[in-house]
């Protein structure tokens, strides 16, 4: 497992240098954090030169305390013949939540990016049809961001103070 991390890290470092912000091994996954401007280029390199031709998953996350890098986009790529899996992460700020779209490389990224936009408000530049997918079109906020409570905060019929909720 660690070999995958080291070999890929070496290759990416020689090609992209400081655009690779960090590389670490989390459980069975090598994880690379990269600059968001380079994400498309890096994934294209991985697809064309390293054989990572399958986009397993694309999703978002939100770290409100991570100032300037609040919104994360997480990619899981799979090299099926070599059976290698990697995770790529990139962060964007709330003020400028633009990340390059992968739809040109993987048509399957279409709905996954729409879902990420729907829930986190990440704007994928280059996406052909970036609109809400699971929520209704009239919604004017991004519900998976941390600041939105699951229940109406004004409710007073429930006292959960004892239970850490």
């Amino acid at each position: 497992m660690a070999d995958v991390l080291n070999t890929l890290n070496e290759k990416l470092k020689t090609k992209f240098g400081s655009d690779i912000l960090s590389a670490e091994q989390l459980f069975d996954f090598p994880v690379f954090t990269v600059k968001k401007e380079k994400i498309l280029e890096i994934i294209k390199t991985l697809k064309e030169e390293e054989g990572f031709n399958f986009l397993t998953d694309l999703t978002g996350t939100h770290y409100p305390d991570n100032k300037g890098q609040e919104l994360g986009v997480i990619y899981h790529l799979h090299d099926m013949p070599g059976n290698r899996r990697i995770r790529l992460k990139t962060y964007a700020s709330l003020a400028d939540p633009k990340v390059l779209s992968l739809t040109g490389l993987f048509p399957g990224a279409n709905w996954m990016e729409r879902e990420t936009f729907d829930f986190y408000g990440v704007l994928f530049t280059g996406h052909p049809n970036l609109k809400r997918i699971l929520n209704m079109d009239e919604m004017n906020y991004f519900p998976m961001r941390r600041e939105y409570p699951m229940e109406d905060a004004k409710r007073d019929d429930k006292d959960n103070s004892m239970f850490g909720r």
Binding site: L26, F29, T56, H76, M150
Partner: protein
């Protein structure tokens, strides 16, 4: 004659397309799917899918629930094979907490997962029959699905939304009735399956109807991130059970059936063959279980697995763990894991980020249905309307998994 020629040459006849709203609730779509079809007569020219009609915000709810309470959310994803979702979630958490699971529990899990795969494929394949006008097979195989559900009921008390197992193992050991029922299923299911295959697989009418319907090439399927039987029908031998074995699948001997053209007949045949492989896996698992000590049904993960009630009354540690688990205050390590299992429809992945709190910081379900349903418009383009219905049921799109 000259006048007609003149009209045709100078003013091209404008093609008129009609718009047809298929769904959201339509008896032929087996779920809540809306497709706005652009039709030229009976030929589908274009389609636009709208999803989200039963979106229940599971990912948001999961961020507010302790780990044990997330299990009931997962079985509402693919409700045709809910035990796979439950056990997949347990295995994800076990990966995060680095729990050691005894071999017997792993084999028991394999039995459950393969049974639910059979139940899932039975529904899908028999519904392909219904959509082509062959109701009989559907009515016959549902009694075998019923027998499988009786086993689930005997193990966990529920049939459809099972909430089966716990983090660390099973909530109780399997009763002798379970093993009896399992033997019964293994005896009658192959006969029933054979009967069902006699009805359809070599049936000229059925083959003419389904072959060439809704095909997809391997290259397209890969680019659309297809997984599971739909990808294998296109000819790619990718199966999570083999590529990244979990729960000791590496010890089992089974084949991965693959198709060639990715059409409805291939999807049907791949699922059909997978059921036979599943039966063989269950038989192997039963043999393996017999060699393990019979009283083990959970691993040693006291922080997550509820202690015996007897111990709760008599032992201090057990009481503390019991209290912490029930109140959802387990100590979860910080970390992030991705774990995938081979669900009924493909790679069912759980991406879990833990910040050490009582709830996951982020939990994302990689739902195979959601990902491959986006290729649906492309697959039905240029075909007949009735083929569109058939393609949808042969892809086995499950509304619960689609919308999460």
């Amino acid at each position: 004659m000259a006048e007609v020629k003149d009209i045709v040459q100078n003013k091209p006849v404008e093609k008129i397309y009609s718009t047809l709203n298929l769904g959201p609730t339509h008896p032929a779509t087996h779920g809540i799917f809306q497709n706005i079809l652009k039709m030229d007569g009976e030929i589908v020219m274009d389609a636009e899918s709208t999803v989200g009609y039963i979106h229940r915000a599971f990912e948001k709810i999961a961020e507010h629930r302790p780990y044990n309470q997330i299990t009931p959310l997962t079985d509402r994803l693919n409700y045709c094979s809910s035990p796979i979702n439950n056990l997949g979630w347990h295995m994800t958490v076990e990966k995060l907490i680095k729990a050691e699971i005894p071999k017997r529990v792993q084999y028991l899990r394999i039995i459950i997962m393969e049974l639910s795969r059979i139940a899932d494929h039975l529904v899908c394949n028999s519904v392909i029959g219904v959509d082509t006008g062959a109701m009989t097979g559907f009515l016959y195989v549902f009694q075998y699905r019923e027998k499988i559900y009786e086993i689930f009921e005997e193990i966990c008390g529920a049939r459809l939304t099972t909430n089966i197992g716990r983090i660390g193992g099973f909530e109780r050991n399997w009763s002798p009735t379970v093993w009896k029922k399992l033997d019964e299923v293994l005896e009658v299911l192959p006969k029933g399956l054979r009967e069902f295959e006699n009805l359809l697989t070599r049936n000229r009418i059925f083959i003419d109807r389904v072959s060439g319907c809704g095909p997809i090439s391997a290259e397209k399927a890969l680019s659309y991130s297809f997984t599971g039987p739909n990808l294998r029908a296109a000819g790619v031998d990718y199966d999570v059970r083999v590529a990244n074995p979990y729960s000791s699948y590496e010890e089992f001997d089974f084949k991965i059936p693959v198709g060639t053209t990715g059409d409805t007949y291939d999807r049907f045949m791949v699922r059909e063959q997978e059921m036979w492989e599943s039966i063989s896996i269950i038989r192997q698992a039963i043999e393996k279980v017999k060699k393990e000590p019979a009283d083990i049904f959970h691993g040693k993960v006291p922080e997550f697995y509820l202690p015996d009630k007897e111990d709760v009354y008599n032992k201090m540690e057990a009481l503390i763990y019991h209290f912490k688990i029930v109140m959802g205050e387990m100590d979860v390590p910080v970390g992030e894991v991705y774990h995938a299992v081979e669900g009924g429809n493909g790679e069912l992945g759980f991406y879990l980020v833990s910040d050490g709190g009582r709830n996951p910081y982020r939990l994302h379900f990689r739902r195979p249905c959601f990902i491959y349903y986006q290729a649906y418009p492309e697959m039905i383009k240029g075909g007949m309307l009735s083929d569109a219905i058939l393609t949808m049921s042969s892809m086995n799109v499950i509304a619960g998994e689609l919308d999460a």
